[in-house]
Amino acid sequence: MKIVVIHDDISETSPIMVMLRVQYGDDNVVLHTHSQPGLEYVLSNLGQKMVVLLDKNFYDGKEKSGIKVFEEIRAKTSLVSVILTSVSNISDIGEENLKILINNDLFAFESFTSDYSKIIELIDKAVEGMDLRIDAVLEEWIVKQPEEKRERQYITTKGDKSYTLNEILESIRQRTEIGRSLEQNILKLAVDLLTRKNMKLDD
């Protein structure tokens, strides 16, 4: 699990970074103080489970805003949890932007003036959530498979269409029908296995 901080008011020695590193390990906490490189980092590490702590406004007006970064992450994947912070109040975010945030599943919004421990709590909650999501677990499992295996046909549907693991991965990230139905089938299978009593939870 990686915690990616994209924020221009947080430095490597800020309390929030120090405490995140203590909790998640030095290598698992990454800081970007500019939005574009931060976004690029997230997009080039999609195979990694990630929680992103994102600033809404950057001092340099020419930088991509946090909301734009969020939109661009969402265009590629729904599997990264994003927590947005700002020193302004939530009421200062325009209606259009609020819609974007809510409709694209922003994990949380927190004022940057809140206690840093509160912000870290939200990150913890997002991390826990990631562990429980079937789609995230599936993604993690697929990414761990060797590339040649990921390129082979893996599943054939009733309609005689075949999908490789890489295609399934993409469809999970993009929340397309095949991805969703795969998740549902896995859940059904799990329930089915458990109810047949020939399998226990710790098997």
Binding site: P15, G61, S88, T113
Partner: protein
């Protein structure tokens, strides 16, 4: 068509009675309730609905589309009909079954362009057509054929029947999510070469008034650029059997009339130059400056500006004219680009795509608003490949080219803003001049009267009476005129005062939000540092952070103090008016206060102020102007070897002129006005926030002066600012 329809209805009757396995029936593949709900969200207005359907014709490579409105003002729903006919590629049976009748889950298109050889940039939103039809009326017949097919395909769709079914299913408390209704279809023989699609909508939901028809025409006219012909053509015809002026009228963007100002800029590919507009206040005219073609590629831009009387004339001439003066739109190869292709009935809900109105609250008096201009910016696929329509159709892809284009457009509008301001001032002085002239003429008349009176020795009493009464009237007239002159002056002063108050209020609001942001950020940082102490002190493992954090708290507090000091100086800016000598103040400030700084930066500084000039204003505010200019120059000089700054000044007949120059990187051509805008900076990489020059301009304006970028003194590099402070500040 009528014949065909009769034909169809004959064929449909038996077909629709057949069972669902019948291959002569087409079935919707979705829940009708949800479908209609969705549609009502997407298409809120009938003009939008037709607008969307016509865009679809364009996407289908049609070269001609006719929108026919038949008895649409009739009270009887059954009489009202709308027919949209195009000569596009047409749809196959499979197209209708698998595309038209399936609500897509994937909103992204496979291709952004229509079929070859037209390769048109697609305008319509995929899947919106059927919602549009539903908005317009209850019954639809699609009559369509692709080239090479033998038969036309006719499909009938009855929305009212769905509605009845779904209502019935809800009342019965029985969930029937998917419709069980078959849509009848039939084949009608046609010519092998024929192609196209006709949508015949009957039982039209709403009554169309004449004004609605005009509104439809106006909106359709916006699809096409008035200046760049579409090739291959896309001709739109509107035909109404009730409004004679539109009985068979080709939709063409009307020539734009009644504007008060017009400017047009273009480019020259051979020299690689783009024209950009500037308004020269000294001459009172627009000039076109040539700059290297910008990142977004060469553009043609026509701007029609409507001042208040022009707008009044325009509105009187056109019904629904208010919707026509609606800002700048971008056309690609003669056709509107997708972000501008969304029709919105309410002007206040129109999206400010280019950010034209966002900047109004900064300065409502000199900025031009969307509803004062019609702008047509023509781009081409070939010349402007980096201006890309965003997939959500609401904007363009946010890249450097698009950002520069937006800045460029605003710069052109700002030139009109300067003209607007110039003319307001001119008008004021004309009124004043005319009054004074009237006063002079009244005096002359009175003198003439006295002369005539003297010539007539011993006039008759009745003549004398007339003279006396005339003289009396002239005196009254003179009094009235001189009173008017002073009233006019008073009114002008009053107007200016109000303008100033409003201006400072607006900038105060902006300022307050800026400061609040800075203060809250500092407080948040200090709070986090304090929280760390509270939770962790004196844990040994964090020992190395305690001193570091204490220092950070101290530094952050200093920043906070600076910010609040600045706030205080701003708050009390009006209180400390004093007389001071500009020459002395500048000499002292630039040679003494900045001596060390200039030495450390190895800047060769020269000051040459020729005359004394006494100014009454807030001294600190005046100093801030030069502090900002110096700090600007230092940034511009960072990569220059022999750094120079020069400040010179002299008195001319009407004003005190100050030149402030450096030999740094200079200001890009075309940026001369832009750099004074708030947050506009080209030195963001070294901490430039784009506030300095904004404050400078505000301060100079408050002295009734002007600041402008002129030809650099240290050619070929460097920048020179010219500040003009007029004597007469009334």
């Amino acid at each position: 068509m009528q014949k065909v329809l009769k034909n169809i209805s004959k064929k449909l009757a038996p077909v629709s009675k057949k069972t669902q396995t019948n291959d002569q029936n087409l079935r919707w593949r979705f829940d009708v309730n949800t479908f209609r709900l969705l549609g009502r969200e997407l298409i809120t207005d009938r003009v939008t609905a037709i607008f969307e359907l016509v865009k679809n014709c364009y996407d289908a490579n049609a070269t001609r589309v006719t929108v026919e409105l038949i008895d649409v003002s009739s009270d009887k729903k059954e009489n009202r009909k709308i027919v949209i006919r195009d000569n596009g590629t047409g749809m196959s049976f499979a197209d209708i079954r698998d595309k038209w009748m399936v609500v897509g889950t994937n909103s992204k298109r496979v291709s952004q362009y229509s079929a070859p050889p037209f390769n048109r940039k697609l305008l319509g939103e995929k899947g919106v057509g059927r919602f549009a039809v539903d908005k317009l009326g209850e019954r639809l017949v699609i009559h369509t054929k692709q080239k090479g097919e033998k038969n036309w395909l006719d499909v009938g769709i009855n929305w009212d029947e769905y509605e009845a079914r779904s209502t019935a299913s809800t009342q019965g408390n029985q969930l029937s999510l998917f419709t069980e209704i078959d849509n009848a279809y039939a084949y009608v023989p046609g010519e092998i070469e024929d192609h196209g699609t006709t949508l015949q909508i009957s039982n039209v939901n709403e009554i169309w008034t004449d004004l609605d028809v005009i509104r439809l025409y106006n909106e359709l006219a916006k699809l096409l650029s008035p200046f760049h012909p579409v090739n291959p053509p896309f001709d739109i015809w509107l035909s109404s059997n009730e409004v004679p002026a539109y009985s068979n009228k080709q939709v063409r963007p009307d020539p734009i009339r009644f504007f008060s100002h017009f400017q047009e800029i273009g480019f020259d590919l051979a020299t690689g130059e783009q024209e950009t507009l500037q308004f020269e206040a000294d001459k009172g005219e627009f000039v076109k400056i040539r700059i290297p073609i910008k990142r977004f590629g060469p553009v043609k831009f026509k701007i029609y500006y409507f001042n208040t009387p022009a707008k009044r004339r325009f509105l009187a001439a056109y019904k629904g004219g208010d919707e026509r003066i609606d800002g700048v739109k971008i056309y690609r190869d003669g056709v509107i680009t997708t972000p501008f292709a969304e029709y919105n009935a309410h002007p206040d809900h129109k999206k400010d795509i280019l950010g034209i109105d966002k900047r109004l609250w900064r300065d409502i008096f000199t900025k031009v608003a969307s509803r004062e201009v019609i702008g047509i910016l023509d781009i081409t696929k070939e010349n402007n490949p980096d201006i890309i329509d965003a997939t959500n159709r609401q904007d363009f892809v946010d890249n450097l080219a698009y950002r520069e284009l937006k800045e460029f457009i605003i710069q052109q509008l700002d030139a009109f803003g300067s003209a607007k301001k110039f003319e307001t001032n001119l008008k004021r002085s004309i009124v004043e001049r005319e009054l004074i002239q009237a006063g002079v003429e009244a005096n002359q008349f009175s003198a003439e009267l006295t002369k005539v009176e003297k010539l007539l020795e011993n006039p008759k009493p009745e003549v004398k009476n007339v003279f006396d009464s005339l003289k009396n009237q002239v005196t009254q007239l003179k009094n009235a005129i001189s009173q008017s002159v002073s009233e006019q002056k008073k009114f002008q002063r009053d107007a200016e005062r109000k303008e100033k108050i409003l201006r400072s209020l607006v900038s105060l609001q902006e300022f307050a939000s800026m400061i609040a942001h800075a203060v809250r950020t500092s407080i948040a940082k200090v709070k986090h540092l304090g929280e760390f102490f509270k939770l962790n002190f004196p844990k040994k493992e964090f020992e190395r952070f305690y001193l570091l954090y204490a220092t950070q708290i101290y530094d952050e507090m200093n920043t906070l103090l600076k910010v609040t000091d600045f706030m205080l100086s701003f708050a009390s800016a009006d209180k400390h008016y004093e007389d001071f000598n500009v020459r002395e103040l500048l000499s002292e400030l630039l040679t003494q206060s900045y001596e060390t700084l200039f030495r450390n930066e190895q800047i060769d500084f020269e000051i040459d102020i020729k005359n004394d000039f006494i100014l009454t204003t807030n001294k600190q505010a005046f100093k801030d102007v030069f502090q900002n200019l110096v700090s600007n120059s230092i940034k511009a000089l960072r990569n220059t070897k022999e750094k120079k700054i020069k400040c010179s000044g002299y008195l001319d007949a009407e004003s005190f002129i100050i030149y402030f120059s450096d030999n740094g990187v200079g200001i890009d051509k075309g940026d001369e006005e832009w750099i004074f805008g708030l947050f506009n900076t080209r030195t963001a990489d070294i901490g430039g926030a784009g506030i300095g020059l904004y404050i400078v301009e505000m301060q100079i304006k408050s002295l009734n002066g002007t600041i402008q970028v002129v030809e650099p003194e240290y050619k070929p590099t460097g920048a020179t600012f010219k500040i003009t402070l007029p004597f007469n500040r009334e």
